[in-house]
């Protein structure tokens, strides 16, 4: 963590975008760069260290989601896991059907593979959500046809934090003999995840969302799921995911997930208290609304829209106070469209542009929250004082 030029400590509240890598995680990784650097596929002694390290990490990931160890496959991140799950199931099961069910508020790492598959002849249903971002379980059931091969619904939304009814959707999928994938990239380390109990067939996770290294992830594939490879090549990962293993990255992923899930209840409780303090404080500003569900949301997610102003300018002003946050405004996306998630929840475009997401992390304190609460009202006032919408 850094101080800025004026010496103000950085108040980082964008953990949903990425986290720093825990220094102890980095320490665990370093020997695998220079010392135990062998290719795990090799038969000689130094390669054994790499191989053992990978299997230890696999166990840690499996433990964290209550999976069998041999159902966990390492990838280069959440995006690869999502691509593999969706395209892999689609291509492997196209003789059975060509229909996929998902929601309108998935991450682009799910939506864009789906859109690409549409070009290859697949049919995709994008289910709507209610104003809290919840998908309706009955809608899922009703969308299933005899062509449906996959349901993919995110565990928790990355922008508004809403937690979806995963277990119920998994049950419906199982009753109908359809595979169920969930993008749990935002959920790991925030809420308990149990692939057995929740009827999950495939699950994506990404290391840099829970103090692990960027460029690491995993896909859980329940034994027996019919899925094509996505990364074709060498015989790594029991011939399921090719490419020389990123040994230090995998070690870091394992270390990080073990740390972040070991005391999840207390962590979640602490985050939730900070979250609610933030939400309540911010909602005192007039013409301000909470996005996402008030209680069924990630314990670390705050998402507020401020009428009449635009998110990027909020972020820039926050940055000048050494506060790092994020927005769903078009102005920070390459597409020049406001967040599909906020629009999907029914927010008008002009309001969706004024969103501010604060996502908390373990190093955040009550002082941080109070500092943010002391700064934001002035920023909102300043920007509104320039806004032709506020005075119209």
């Amino acid at each position: 963590m850094q101080n800025n030029e004026e010496g103000q400590k950085l108040v980082y509240m964008d953990h949903a975008a990425t986290t720093y890598t825990d220094p102890e995680v980095v320490n665990a990784m370093v020997p695998y760069f220079t010392e135990y650097f062998g290719n795990p596929s090799s038969p000689y002694t130094i390669a054994k260290e790499s191989e053992d390290a990978i299997e230890k990490a696999r166990e840690k990931v499996a433990n964290a989601i209550n999976a069998k160890t041999d159902s966990v496959f390492f990838t280069s991140g959440g995006t690869e896991s999502d691509n593999w799950a969706i395209k892999g199931v689609a291509f492997a099961n196209k003789n059975k059907g060509n229909h996929i069910i998902t929601t309108a508020i998935e991450h682009h790492a799910v939506l864009h593979p789906c859109e690409w598959l549409e070009k290859q002849g697949f049919d995709v249903t994008y289910l709507p959500v209610d104003k809290y971002g919840h998908v309706n379980v009955d809608d899922v059931r009703d969308a299933i046809t005899d062509q449906t091969i996959l349901i993919t619904v995110m565990f928790a939304n990355n922008e508004i934090g809403t937690i979806e009814p995963i277990k119920e959707i998994g049950k419906i999928a199982r009753e109908n003999g359809v595979y169920f994938h969930t993008d749990a990239v935002q959920a790991i380390g925030q809420v308990p995840v149990d692939v057995e109990d929740m009827n999950i067939d495939l699950l994506s996770l990404s290391g840099h969302k829970f103090y692990g290294p960027k460029g690491t992830g995993a896909l859980y594939i329940k034994k027996g799921v019919k899925i094509d490879n996505f990364m074709h090549g060498g015989a790594q990962e029991k011939q399921r995911r090719a490419g020389t293993e990123n040994v230090p990255g995998i070690v870091g992923l394992g270390e990080a997930i073990e740390r972040v899930t070991s005391d999840i209840e207390n962590h979640a409780k602490r985050m939730q208290a900070l979250r609610d303090r933030l939400i309540n404080g911010l909602l005192e500003i007039p013409k301000t609304h909470l996005c996402g569900h008030p209680t069924e949301r990630l314990p670390n997610n705050v998402n507020i829209v401020f009428e009449y102003i635009e998110g990027e300018s909020i972020l820039l002003m926050l940055d000048s106070y050494s506060i790092a946050a994020s927005t769903g405004s078009a102005c920070t996306s390459a597409s020049l469209e406001p967040s599909h998630v906020l629009v999907g929840c029914g927010l008008p475009h002009e309001i969706a542009h004024g969103s501010l997401r604060l996502s908390l992390g373990k190093e955040n304190t009550e002082e941080d929250v109070d500092y943010v609460l002391s700064v934001v009202p002035n920023i909102i006032e300043r920007l509104r004082s320039m806004s032709p919408m506020a005075t119209k």
Partner: protein, 137 residues
């Protein structure tokens, strides 16, 4: 994305000429709240010269900085010279804008034009036409 020049940040954090204007001689508003930016520009004109300019903007950092810079650039200019302040001139004065933000400087140019023509209309003068857009390099 962390992409703005020092000059942009200066004009964003300390915008010049921001605020409403009482009894302006010309007003121009462009943009669309759905797209996340609206720019309104007010002019005080005397003897064909822009005596004062003010703006109100809903939008991103580049939109606010472009508004601020545009008002600075046109103050004291004849209407003809003000009309000729191009979006590129605004962007250059800001020491550059990221390519996906160039449309903000275009908005500023359009707002100036609209405000000048508003004035000319009120004076029963003929409206000036848009010149050809400069081709982006």
């Amino acid at each position: 994305m962390a992409m703005y020049s020092k000059k942009v940040m200066d004009h964003f954090m300390n915008p010049r000429n921001v605020g409403e204007m009482e009894n302006p001689d010309g007003v121009g508003e462009v943009g669309n709240p759905k797209c996340g930016d609206i720019m309104r520009m007010y002019l005080k004109i005397e003897d064909n010269i822009i005596q004062d300019a003010k703006f109100m903007t809903f939008g991103c950092g580049a939109a606010i900085a472009s508004s601020s810079m545009a008002t600075e650039l046109i103050k004291g200019k004849t209407l003809e010279d003000a009309w000729d302040v191009s979006n590129k001139a605004v962007a250059d004065a800001l020491e550059g804008l990221p390519s996906i933000k160039m449309h903000c400087s275009v908005l500023a140019e359009e707002a100036i034009h609209k405000a000048i023509n508003d004035y000319r209309q009120k004076q029963n003068l003929s409206l000036w036409g848009e010149k050809e857009e400069e081709k982006p390099e």
